[in-house]
């Protein structure tokens, strides 16, 4: 008698817990599942032999500043700032390295350092005008983006600067576990940013500055310092992206920097539907970035390039923001 009654009672929590587990997986990691699905579809759809490993290697091994720039934008967005200048800062940092090395004969380490300093200087201009003076961030960063973009052309003599020592490219392209160092740099930085944002008081302070500045200020958070720090660290990440990418390529064409604007925003906003839904978060951005890169890679394999890519990023951006908004609304009821 007792056996028949206790069995169902004990059995009940199991499916309930399992269902909750799946609910969390679906809510937080549906983007990862979608990504895997996309890869499988690609492998089947693309003519010829493409194995899962080679497809993954092709996507993860891409030489793109997308991860670095995505992290940079996540940092500013998280504290409630809007930054349109990240691509410009990335561009001028990326041009600085080959311009100094090839055109002016600087040693590489010094040129790389100079690129980081240039990026930080632009970040400081952003912070000074937006946080210090109190000017609208969209206006300031739009202007700074244009200035940085223009100066990049000046530095490069309006062409692609190339001709750096090919041996140097190993710093970016050298392989570790079958994937280029660029991938590992991005992964390490994403882990670091994730740790800072989710596990340290600084990260929580950033969250509150982004959510409600008055509340943050009254809780003893130095709001200006957090905002300034966000602009500076964001610029530093853009500078690092510039150094890594131009080193890998052995040069840089300043015209390509602005093409990063759309994919980065798409990745950052798409990232808000993953891992920590409704919030700007680095791991979500990382996943979203590779999700988008896979999409573009697939389109290329299907011989669809050019206009399709732009449409793809645009759709991804708007869809991401829409989904994120709907998620938020459901939370608030």
């Amino acid at each position: 008698m007792s056996a028949t009654t206790t069995t169902p009672v004990q059995a009940r929590p199991e499916p309930a817990r399992l269902r909750r587990f799946w609910a969390i997986v679906l809510q937080r990691y549906s983007l990862v599942l979608l990504w895997l699905l996309m890869i499988i579809v690609l492998i089947i759809a693309v003519p010829g032999d493409v194995s899962l490993v080679s497809a993954l290697r092709a996507v993860l091994g891409q030489q793109t500043p997308l991860i670095f720039l995505g992290l940079a934008v996540v940092i500013t967005m998280a504290v409630g700032e809007f930054d349109l200048s990240f691509a410009g800062i990335f561009g001028i940092a990326a041009v600085t390295v080959p311009a100094l090395v090839v055109l002016h004969g600087w040693p590489y380490p010094l040129a790389a350092l100079a690129a980081l300093v240039v990026a930080l200087a632009f970040g400081a201009i952003n912070a000074g005008l937006i946080v210090g003076v109190g000017i609208n961030s969209v206006v300031v960063t739009l202007g700074v983006a244009s200035v940085a973009g223009g100066l990049a052309f000046l530095l490069s003599g309006e062409t692609t600067v190339s001709g750096m020592d090919p041996a140097l490219s190993g710093l970016a392209l050298g392989r570790f576990l079958g994937l280029p160092l660029v991938f590992w740099y991005g992964l390490v930085l994403a882990v670091v940013v994730t740790y800072v944002m989710s596990a340290t008081p600084l990260g929580r302070h950033m969250l509150f500055v982004g959510a409600n500045r008055s509340v943050a200020r009254l809780a003893g958070v130095s709001v200006s310092r957090v905002r300034t720090g966000a602009y500076l660290s964001s610029a530093l990440l853009c500078g690092f992206a510039g150094v890594v990418i131009s080193t890998g390529l052995g040069g840089f064409n300043p015209g390509t920097a602005t093409t990063m604007l759309m994919p980065t925003f798409a990745a950052v906003f798409l990232g808000t539907v993953a891992v920590v839904p409704g919030r700007f978060n680095p791991m979500g951005t990382l996943i979203a970035a590779y999700f988008l890169l896979t999409g573009v890679f697939g389109l290329q394999l299907l011989r669809l390039t050019g206009w399709v890519t732009e449409v793809f990023f645009g759709v991804a951006l708007v869809a991401a923001v829409t989904i994120s908004f709907l998620l938020q609304r459901r939370v608030r009821g």
């Binding site: 340290t200 929580r204 509150f208 409600n212 008055s214 809780a219 003893g220 009821g333």
Partner: protein
């Protein structure tokens, strides 16, 4: 009862994500009456108003009639003014930078034929008409920012009344008196009476039960998402009966100051010659274990005092906390916090809590630096301390991961109190903590205030509610023109406080 009701609501319900927040609500308002809608936070009364105004879409099945004409559901918010329904919201919905005319006419500007430009002459006439009807004299071209509080109310009412035949329609005041200072309330009540006397039906939503008894003819009460009493005449009610109606039980404020005696300890806080905002030279001693109330009229400087002590606004003077001097000339919220001062601001949503973040994040934010390490905030203390706050204040639901916006106003206020009491402050400064919380939550907020003193903190309670002050304070300092005018020491009554507040004002004017 053969007359047609001015406003009739039948069977209105609202379900959010499977949770019914309002079930089968009924409401009948006759022409020429002032009807009050009362209920605690979370009782469903704001939901009902939002359903009638079309902000939320009601569940299928409900019906809303104005003068017998069915206007929904579904309700078209754009057509409500024509159908006879007008709303005056909590913050009055005025834009300070625009003129009176623009504020009144927004959305219904008269336009010239062909060009479609705004016809300022006709607009001004329409505004003037509405003001004439209300019997007020306000320049239609003045900027709203330059108006007195009572005039701002008139502008909001004029917007609701324009282009109406006198005596028609329904005007809904949704917690409007909250935005109105005490001195201007008489004018406001007069205006409501005037509307009702003309035959317009007035629906007021209010937390303030005395206000309801003073101006309303009948009352409809909501509890837990249902109408529990419909159209009870206020002539049959006193404050106790109305409180019972709202709470379902007696809700009298306990005399916490007597029932929770605190030992006055050594040390405490000395405020030396505080100035800033409207405060001019306030000095006071608050010992540990003592609750000292500050009160006064809106012009007395009362509203500047708490932010001044908390470092939120700039000023002069010193606060000596347990022998350590904090210079308020160069203070900041973080400096005040380090000195052991916890300041609970009045504006819960604007300054108190980040509502889109979780309870745990909000409760722990001021304490991260003290209790965490720079490289690791630590999860365990956050969870256990938050749970302690949730249990200690009986916050519902008991869920550290709940988003603050999903809690009711009273529960949010409890979270706000818990957030600041968690650190065991030396000085707790509260700025009108019972504003816009219901009777039930008010008791727990006041009890927590007293408990802080019992636990050894010095407590400053800035409040314009005499009942709150009587309930928890050992002493009350009455401000007038930025200075301490009167000091009351227990025992005192709410009447004593009111007499001191207004007596002080008269004395100051003579």
């Amino acid at each position: 009862m053969s007359t047609t009701a001015r406003l009739e609501v039948r069977g209105l319900s609202k379900t959010f994500a499977g949770v019914t927040v309002l079930a089968d609500a009924q409401l009948v308002i006759e022409p020429g009456e002032v009807h009050a809608l009362v209920g605690q936070n979370g009782s469903g009364k704001s939901t009902l108003i939002k359903l009638i105004s079309g902000v939320y879409r009601a569940d299928p099945g409900g019906e809303v009639f104005v003068d017998g004409h069915r206007i929904g559901t579904p309700i078209n918010p754009g057509g409500l003014h024509e159908q006879g329904l007008a709303f005056v919201h909590q913050d009055l919905g005025l834009v300070n930078d625009l003129s009176v005319r623009e504020n009144v006419r927004v959305g219904r500007h008269a336009t010239r034929p062909f060009t479609g430009w705004i016809d300022k002459v006709r607009d001004t006439e329409a505004v003037q008409q509405a003001f004439d009807f209300l019997g007020v004299q306000i320049d239609p071209h003045a900027k709203v920012a330059t108006l007195k509080p009572s005039e701002r109310v008139a502008v909001a009412v004029a917007r609701a009344l324009q282009e109406r035949t006198p005596g028609s329609g329904v005007v809904v005041f949704d917690e409007s008196s909250r935005a109105i200072p005490h001195e201007a309330l008489d004018d406001f009540y007069g205006m409501i009476r005037l509307l009702a006397d003309q035959g317009t039906a007035v629906l007021i939503v209010s937390h303030d039960l005395r206000e309801v008894l003073r101006i309303a003819d009948r009352v409809t009460a909501l509890r837990n998402g249902s109408v529990v009493e419909m159209g009870v005449p206020t002539a049959e009610l006193d404050e106790a009966a109305l409180t019972r109606l709202v709470l379902g039980h007696n809700g009298e404020l306990d005399d916490y100051a007597s029932s929770m005696p605190a030992t006055v300890g050594d040390g405490g806080v000395e405020l030396r010659d505080l100035s800033g905002g409207r405060i001019r030279g306030v000095s006071a001693q608050i010992r540990r274990g003592e609750v000292v109330g500050f009160t006064g009229t809106v012009d007395s400087g009362l509203s500047s005092l708490a932010p001044l002590i908390g470092g939120a606004i700039q000023g002069q003077g010193q606060a000596v906390v347990d022998g350590r001097t904090l210079d308020l000339g160069s203070s900041s919220p973080s400096a005040a916090l380090r000195a052991g001062i916890a300041y609970i601001p009045q504006d819960r949503h604007g300054e108190g809590l980040a509502t889109e973040l979780t309870v745990e994040e909000n409760v722990t934010i001021p304490h991260l630096r003290m209790k965490g390490r720079p490289w690791r905030s630590g999860g365990r203390w956050q969870r256990s301390e938050t749970n302690a706050v949730l249990a200690g204040f009986d916050v519902r639901p008991h869920d550290p991961r709940a988003v603050v916006a999903t809690l009711s106003g009273g529960n949010q206020q409890k979270v706000l109190m818990g957030k600041w009491l968690l650190g065991g402050p030396s000085l707790l400064v509260l700025d009108d903590p019972t504003q816009a919380v219901d009777v039930g939550a008010r008791g727990s907020v006041l009890r927590a205030t007293r408990q802080a003193a019992v636990d050894g903190a010095a407590v400053v309670l800035c409040s314009s509610e005499p009942d709150d002050l009587v309930s928890v304070c050992d002493r009350v300092l009455v401000l007038n023109e930025g200075e301490v005018a009167v000091e009351l020491v227990r025992p005192f009554t709410a009447e004593d406080i009111l007499a001191a507040v207004f007596g002080a004002t008269d004395g100051g004017l003579e």
